[in-house]
Amino acid sequence: MNELWKHVSEGNRDAYTKLYVEYYRKLYNYGRKFTDDIPVLEDTIQDTLISIWTRRSQLNTIQNPGTYYYTAFRHALIKKLSEIKIHHVPSNPQFSADAVVMKREADKELKDNMEAAMRMLTSRQREALYLRFYEELSYEEISQLMSISLKATYKIMARALAHLRENFSGPLALCIALKEIIMAVSTLLVFHL
């Protein structure tokens, strides 16, 4: 991947084409979590990717061009989305509530509970989880991308995972089972009265 960036910085259009296609897909997947306004999303992706070419001469000076352009994209997209005001109140783009899910093989009840818990996470918590466990970025890269301190990144991640863990362990499953028993018993009682 670094090879590709290097070739682009040297003005290789072939390499740029490959980079364009690859990053279009990645940015689409990422940006789509912030909005379902496809035209705005596609415009922002195209602008970001074009700037990679027009500024290719400075690529050599950028440590981590992937994260650098992810950051530029995120910033541009959020700025564009924030400009849309509803009743004069600027909207605050959120990382989709359905972005974080459980794997399909999970037990159905557990899956439902966990996904309910996931919807209760904050926008930044969901985004941090996505960047760490899907995009596989390091904590440092995430802090750069989300424009927060490294410490804040750790905090957000820890809170998100702790919240999920609370809903993952045995006690909840037990509570649900108990609840069902109580309901069953009370129904029985009603019919027998």
């Binding site: 084409t17 364009y20 296609v21 279009y24 897909r25 689409y28 997947n29 789509r32 979590k33 596609e42 992706i45 195209q46 990717l49 074009i50 070419w53 027009t54 989709s96 359905d98 972005a99 974080v100 899910v101 459980m102 794997k103 399909r104 999970a106 966990m114 989880l129 996505y130 760490r132 466990f133 899907y134 596989e136 390091s138 904590y139 750790y154 991640m157 820890a158 995972l161 702790a162 999920l164 863990r165 993952f168 362990s169």
Partner: protein, 349 residues
């Protein structure tokens, strides 16, 4: 990711949030595998916590959104078009851009049908000489093929050859006002033809060696101000011997060539501040300011009271748009400003 030494104090939540633990669970390799399996063996009490943490992490999933392949391809070809147009615009006059775009659209269609031969033919049809001109009040920034940077002021023209041959002097022609920052190629004191940079004006040619300077050619007079480096002025009138300028020198080429010295190079910087859209006025007469506005904005200014012309103005004038400039002047001079077509009248209140 480095391992910590206090894992034995960790709760399930701590393991969950630990980057090294996360890496092992999701991206196991020989190294972290070795570490964690041996650590687990030495700390069996933590097995439960680690097992739960591992289970949770492995069950995390994310929704995936994929764009249609056709959309990706479409975006790519659109982007390439925009890039080509942008690179075309860097050396194309504003007036001709509309025509060029239509021409390019036709050429593209033609290429699709006919193939490589047509592309070759089209490339060779491109004109060799570039002419860039600015409208009144506009500023254009131009980068030449050798990376020389030029800022063209309003109502000015820059002409140069699109393709520069290696080994030949670089040449441009200027009418109006332009600021130059010439790319220095020369590496030793011996100057080869290819290292020369020539700026042709009406009656003088400026020979340059990697420098920044300002050329102002208005109303038949030429002012050349050197900011940095060294330049030589060669007069078309062979009777006059060439002048070599030093930084801070301002040469006035009119009926008689004069060399004037500016005291400090800070003044030289002030002289070229128009490139940043600021006009620095150091005890400038209103006449000078009026001439600057007329030359660059294409208006005629008439003073209702002739005593105004000798008024001196001190300060910085922001050159964003003409109306703002006129407003500021009306306040400083305490005059009423009226515009009729392209004539502006200053009348004392």
């Amino acid at each position: 990711m480095t391992q910590k030494n206090n894992y034995h104090t960790y709760s399930e939540d701590d393991f969950l949030a630990d980057p090294y633990f996360q890496d092992w669970v999701l991206k196991p390799n020989a190294e972290n595998e070795r570490f964690w399996t041996s650590w687990l063996m030495q700390n069996p009490s933590k097995q439960e916590a680690i097992e739960q943490a591992r289970k949770l992490l492995t069950m995390l999933a994310f929704s995936v959104h994929e764009p249609a392949e056709a959309r990706v391809r479409e975006s790519l070809s659109q982007a390439m078009e925009i890039i080509d147009q942008h690179e075309e615009e860097l050396s194309t006059p504003a007036r001709k851009i509309v025509l060029l775009k239509r021409w390019m659209a036709v050429a593209a269609l033609f290429v699709l049908v006919a193939g490589a031969g047509t592309v070759y033919y089209w490339y060779h049809q491109r004109p060799a000489v570039q002419l860039i001109s600015t409208a009144f009040g506009a500023i254009k920034k131009v980068t030449l093929p050798d990376s020389t940077y030029i800022v063209l002021n309003g109502n000015s023209t820059l002409t140069f050859n699109r393709r520069w041959t290696h080994g030949q002097p670089r040449e441009v022609w200027v009418d109006g006002e332009a600021y130059f920052n010439v790319r220095h190629i020369d590496t030793d004191s011996h100057i080869t033809p290819g290292e020369r940079f020539l700026v042709h004006l009406k009656d003088v040619t400026v020979e340059v060696l990697g420098t920044s300077f300002n050329i102002r050619q208005r109303r038949g007079n030429t002012e050349i101000m050197l900011q940095q480096g060294k330049i030589q002025l060669v007069f078309n009138d062979s009777q006059r011997s060439p002048i070599i300028m030093q930084p801070g020198d301002l040469v006035y080429v009119g009926d008689r060539a004069e060399q004037l010295k500016i005291d400090s190079t800070a003044s030289a910087d002030d002289y070229v501040k128009w490139t940043e859209k600021k006009l620095i006025l150091n005890n400038a007469s209103l006449d000078e300011v009026i001439h600057y506005i007329e030359d660059n904005y294409g208006r005629k200014i008439v003073l209702g009271d002739s005593s105004l012309s000798s008024r001196k103005i001190e300060g910085t004038l922001l050159l964003d748009n003409l109306n703002d400039i006129l407003f500021v002047l009306s306040k400083i001079l305490n005059v009423d400003v009226q515009q009729q077509d392209t004539t502006i009248y200053f009348r004392p209140k």
